[in-house]
């Protein structure tokens, strides 16, 4: 540590180097993601516990719901791609293009939520409630709405964050770092959905 550096920042000598060579805000997002992964994991395990213990667990999802879940997967994975395109545009110093792709990502999130709500309305129309349904174990509705509801809340929260961050970024007060950290969150939402589809939709497919 040179005397010149210490003269610039007197705390420099006492600061530790970053252990993972990433900004603290990015590390915090990673820590949030792993804690959230465990939350979703606990919910999915609780669902598995109840499903396994209930001999009359309903399997209500017809092929229309299954194809709808595949369409939702396509939208969410595509939104992961568009947020990466936004990040690439930012690295090329094209703020306008980066902002456009962030908004495209948010629009895909809105479309995903709309399809999900349509699925919810369809099930509610068939008589599914949190603690009752016409087919079997009353816990089906509780687990389905809890898991997909928490996921949908993450998507809605992500859409709000994307729009807010995009606008602040467009105004020049945020940098690529902020978009990258938000992109991490958005990819995580995508990642959770990869487990929700087989466990909640495909395992409860009508046979």
């Amino acid at each position: 540590m040179s005397q010149a550096n210490l003269a610039v920042d007197p705390h420099l000598g006492t600061m530790e180097t970053k252990p993972f060579a990433i900004p603290s805000s990015k590390l915090v997002m990673w820590l949030f993601i792993i804690s959230d992964a465990v939350t979703f994991g606990a919910l999915l395990f609780a669902y598995g516990y109840l499903r396994n213990a209930s001999p009359d667990w309903p399997t209500p999802f017809e092929s229309a719901s299954i194809w709808n879940s595949l369409l939702m997967t396509f939208i969410l994975v595509t939104s992961s791609l568009t947020v990466l395109i936004a990040l690439k545009a930012e690295q090329e110093d094209d703020r306008a293009r980066a902002f456009r792709w962030v908004i495209v990502t948010a629009a895909l999130g809105v479309l995903f939520t709309a399809l999900h709500l349509r699925e919810w309305m369809d099930l509610i129309g068939k008589g599914v409630r949190t603690f009752q349904n016409p087919w079997g174990s009353p816990m089906f509705g509780a687990t389905f709405f809890a898991i997909t509801g928490l996921h949908m809340a993450h998507v809605v929260g992500g859409v709000v964050a994307l729009i807010a961050t995009g606008l602040i970024y467009k105004a020049g007060r945020y940098s690529a770092k902020h978009i990258e950290i938000l992109a991490l969150y958005w990819h995580f939402v995508d990642l959770v959905w990869m487990f929700v589809v087989p466990l909640v939709y495909l395992m409860n497919m009508k046979r």
Binding site: I34, A37, F45, Q91, K177, H187, M194, L202
Partner: protein, 99 residues
């Protein structure tokens, strides 16, 4: 330099995007044709997730210490949750806890 800046273009990202979508399609097709099978579908989901973590979230391009600080412990916690199954099967057969 951050992880995204280290990436060499978007080509690997597009490939991973197509592979993840193809796996999702195969998963649904498999479930429709052969019926839902938990283990193969979970394996596919884990492969999809690892691709997303490594290529979309760029964990592959970060220091290995970040991977070691995050992933093994998360997997360990999720693995330990498997202790619930014995009670789930007991509940299925309504056996008393006391013998």
């Amino acid at each position: 330099m951050n992880a995204a800046e280290k990436s060499n273009g978007m080509a690997p990202t597009y490939i991973v995007y197509v592979v993840i979508l193809a796996m999702a399609f195969f998963q649904v097709l498999f479930a429709i044709l052969a019926g839902p099978r938990l283990v193969p579908m979970l394996i596919l989901a884990f492969v999809q997730a690892s691709l997303a973590v490594n290529y979309f979230m760029h964990l592959k391009q970060e220091r290995p210490s970040l991977f070691l600080a995050l992933i093994p412990y998360t997997l360990f916690v999720l693995f330990m949750m498997n202790m619930i199954w014995s009670d789930s099967f007991r509940l299925l057969h309504m056996r008393s806890l006391a013998k």
